[in-house]
Symmetry: C2
Subunit: 359 residues, 2 copies
């Protein structure tokens, strides 16, 4: 039995308490400063209000002030904050982590420096940790298709734990793995993480299709725009492979759970896809975000990072101008407020130009 | 301007008259013996009853008896029958084709011989054509995500024309390409065709997810089984790459429009997915097919071909026993009437077995 601390009691962090508790581990779920009401509710009722489901009785919930007291003897530390909170979590965890602990993260996003070089979130999380501790902590991340509510409901889910050290990901996988929470591992840490970040961007784009139907007054008709979605899905799959390669990862990481699997599940719904719907219907990104109540849109945030970095990487000759046409256009629409106009002919290396028409 | 004959006036064949007609070509839509009522309706009203949409006025519709008269001076012959009708179409076309004609097919399926070797449908179509003509006809096929109703509605669609001769696929692509019907080309004829056949099988499997929810009494709840679907999608993507390799094609053909793109669109609905739903809900394949009125289920048919061939190929040592676990199980369920029990741990090369639990 291991002691596992989860920092962040949002839906995903909390859902991951379920396989850990099912395996008999001592699970300590610690809320952030934004999670006070969630922790209070769990303590009072056992029910997580976001998941709308009872957590296993063995899971104990703590407020942030209690973190220091419960993390010291933990073997596993799960950073359950989303991509917006990673720097915050890094500052909280840095003075508390101890050599030998295993740290696993779920945030999906990316950061860029001023010349466009990209950094994955586990790197951001590790940054403020003192070097001697950092080197003796086992770092890992969870990637692959995983909707929190379905994990909490113990529905079959297949995920991948990525890291740099096989024994680290093996130990973590063994702690989480159940009959319904299926865990594979990969040492392509950077490739896996960049897949996770990029797919949020592309899922937003797939949302354009239904919005475009609405704009064309065809939303009520029997025919959808699945061909449009599928073409964006395929171009997304191609570009995710290229992102993995660009960062020195394995492009094939994009061709199973971490890439096309996660892109598939993310495209089925959620706020990012709804933002895409509104953009497809003709709203500007600012209008779309307002319409949704200005929520955290991880895909949109990542688009601005990837898109801005792409400009710089192109200027530096690191990527070719013809590469990543879809991400470039997502950035034009989301980051630069330009009208939506999918560059179909630039997809898949460029559509051949021959056309024989008598018109 | 080219003369194009389309044999088979089902929804897909007929939809492809739209880009051809938009480009000003002389389009002759010829019904099969099963299409008499469709042809009568188009002649009387201009509306295709299956598409529920008016075809371009320049498209002329013919009954099967008129085929010989209209095909002789055609530059392009499109075989618009589905996979069930390919042998029939081959017999019809064999005595009528002439050297120099371009023949393009849309059927998605596969055939196997008695030792399990697989044959693509363009090969089946070409078989009865006299050798001297066969060698001087340009053979090609349309692959990639393409729902007929959306093509007929002139919605953006991205497809791939595959063949063995670049000038053949280029000439065909140039005849069909419009501002909304986007056409790429590939010379991976066998890889492209096997992607097209295999994705119908896997899309049926993705339908299991919703059925399983229903069976578990959870269909009305807020949480779906998208993680389950996404894991099947990812394993499908992996196996489609392997099918392409096994037949001597390029695995990367599976990683864009012909593979993951087409799998995505096929998974959004249709009879195959509905059959999968019913299997997921616990019906046997015979019961599910009956419930649907015993329609043509191209995915189910292809599963029986692939699955039976897999057994023989495994016996011969051509494929390893651990390969294609999902297709093997689809065959067990659809072909052998065995209960549904997804072999999650055999996916992605096998789930590592470590598990630390105190339970």
């Amino acid at each position: 039995m291991a002691i596992a601390v989860i920092l962040g009691s949002g839906v995903m962090g909390s859902a991951l308490a379920v396989p850990l508790a099912d395996n008999g581990h001592d699970v300590r779920l610690v809320g952030t400063h934004l999670d006070r009401a969630i922790i209070d509710a769990i303590r009072a009722t056992g029910v997580h209000p976001g998941l709308n489901r009872e957590l296993p009785a063995s899971v104990r919930a703590y407020q942030l002030e209690e973190l220091e007291g419960v993390i010291e003897d933990a073997e596993i530390v799960l950073s359950g904050v989303n991509s917006v909170g990673v720097e915050w979590a890094a500052e909280r965890l840095a003075p508390l982590l101890r050599p030998g602990q295993l740290v696993i993260t779920i945030a999906k996003g990316v950061r860029a420096d001023e010349i466009g070089d990209l950094r994955t979130l586990p790197e951001v999380l590790a940054e403020p940790v003192p070097a001697d501790v950092r080197e003796r902590v086992g770092w890992a991340a969870i990637i692959g298709p995983s909707i929190a509510g379905e994990v909490a409901a113990r529905r079959d889910s297949c995920v991948v734990f990525c890291g740099r050290d096989q024994s680290v990901v093996d130990r973590l996988a063994a702690a989480f793995r159940t009959d319904w929470y299926h865990v594979w591992t990969t040492l392509d840490f950077v490739g896996g993480e960049i897949c996770a970040a990029a797919k949020n961007c592309y899922a937003l784009g797939i949302g354009f299709a239904e919005g475009q139907l609405e704009r064309g007054g065809e939303a009520a008709g029997p025919d959808r725009a699945h061909n449009y979605e599928a073409a964006l899905f395929a171009q997304s799959a191609v570009e995710i492979r290229q992102w993995a390669s660009l960062l020195g990862g394995d492009p094939d990481t994009a061709s199973w759970l971490p890439g096309v699997g996660d892109l598939y599940v993310t495209s089925t719904g959620g706020r990012n896809v709804r933002a895409g719907n509104l953009l497809g219907a003709g709203l500007s990104f600012i209008e779309a975000a307002e319409r949704l109540g200005n929520p955290t849109l991880e895909g949109a945030s990542a688009i601005t990072v990837f898109g801005d970095a792409l400009g710089k990487l192109t200027d530096r000759g690191v990527v070719a101008e013809d590469d990543f046409p879809l991400m470039r256009h997502l950035y034009e629409v989301v980051g630069l407020q330009r009208p939506l106009n999918i560059p179909w002919t630039r997809f898949f290396g460029g559509e051949p130009t021959g056309r024989v028409a008598s018109a």
